[in-house]
Symmetry: C2
Subunit: 240 residues, 2 copies
């Protein structure tokens, strides 16, 4: 059963490939593994190298999402890929290097989830409906990815190494929420009542609570999230 779930998650991620490497390749700052410094001149080689890194990052994300950061070993990640455990250190300098790569990979998705809705919405009520339904969808579908994010965010309180990346993603998420808030204000002719940070914090608290209940097996969690989101949304605004 868990195997099936895991496979679904894996396929889900694989389906999004390929991603342009320019998205994170340029900002790569971590130390390189023992691979020879001068990369092959041939383009296909370089691509294959990055593809393997991504492939391993996906396996890592799927495993991390199921077992959590603390309980996931490099051997386990490799076991859920088609490679042996040694290959991890061929493509990543360390475990932290791998995790940070995973987080970078994750954040590409996380902050653009509602942009399509924002771009195409014309009516405030329709906008709210589509937003909330997508919120419920990601709660159910990407639950293990979300709990990994909250796990890593929690770890960043004890491990300084994660703090910067976590803060960066937090900013992206705050911007995402703020784009929703301003769009809704624009469509409805109202004014945002709170700062971007406060709006995000409120929404994040509500979403996390729903995720926690959902993960703990509460089948009513999505429905309750819908109610709460519809209760929260209007109170984020005041008359212009």
């Amino acid at each position: 059963m868990a195997e099936i779930l895991w496979t679904i998650v894996k396929i889900g991620y694989a389906a999004r490939l390929p991603l342009p490497r320019s998205l994170w390749g340029v900002t790569e700052t971590s130390s390189q593994p023992r691979r020879a410094k001068p990369r092959p001149a041939k383009r296909s080689r370089e691509d294959k190298y990055d593809e393997r890194r991504t492939q391993l990052a996906e396996s890592a994300l799927a495993t991390l999402g199921e077992r959590g950061y603390a309980r996931t070993s490099l051997r386990e990640i490799a076991q859920n890929s088609e490679f042996s455990h040694g290959v991890v250190h061929y493509y990543f300098a360390s475990k932290a290097d791998l995790i940070l790569h995973c987080v970078r990979y994750y954040k590409i998705d996380c902050a653009t989830r509602y942009d399509e809705i924002i771009a195409t919405a014309t009516d405030p009520e329709e906008f709210a409906n589509r937003f909330v339904e997508r919120l419920l969808g990601t709660l159910r579908q990407d639950a293990s990815m979300h709990r990994l994010w909250y796990d890593l965010r929690g770890q960043s309180m004890f491990d300084q190494e994660f703090a910067d990346q976590v803060e960066e993603i937090d900013r992206l998420l705050e911007d995402m929420i703020w784009r929703i808030v301003t769009k809704f204000a624009e469509l409805s002719g109202l004014q945002p009542a709170f700062s971007p940070a406060l709006s995000y914090a409120m929404f994040d608290g509500v979403f996390f609570k729903a995720l926690l209940a959902h993960v703990h097996g509460d089948e009513l969690a999505p429905d309750r999230l819908r109610e709460e989101a519809f209760a929260l949304l209007p109170s984020l605004f005041r008359d212009a």
Copy 2:
């Protein structure tokens, strides 16, 4: 430096002792360690046994608060107490048993932090001021305890063993917030605008964000929390 900080934390916890054992002794359900089943008839023995358990739980809490759940070993906990590592399994059946005992110990405090303010407040503005100031106080003073709570809450998404305890504490905290909300409503003649769960989730999101920033070294975090709390508080109510 870290040593000094740790000592301060430890003294802080020791100062709260002794606690009546009836508070958690009756609900004790975890398996007992290898200590002989029929406890000594002498009262002082039994007390000493519970005192040691509490003493170890305090050391554990201090260490866990500094290093986080995943990084803290039983040897480290014992090293920060005055005992050797073997003694842990004399008083606790397993690591999980110890952690759960710590959590139970923690929750006695966590949910009664504002009750004195609730009981003595007479004016809504004065009530809000005292509440927010105590909120800032606990953010600064009990930061490592709070991050441990959020850490364990996150772990409960991967470790079913923690789920029940986490849900129980979450309920206590929700009740705590709701007592504040209803008291404020009573003093100000307004009506709570949201459900207890939603009110708690919003406040929790705001507090966690402040804690994260504070732990990451943001010195303005408490001041921002004050602003945000004062912005959030009135919007939790509507006219009667």
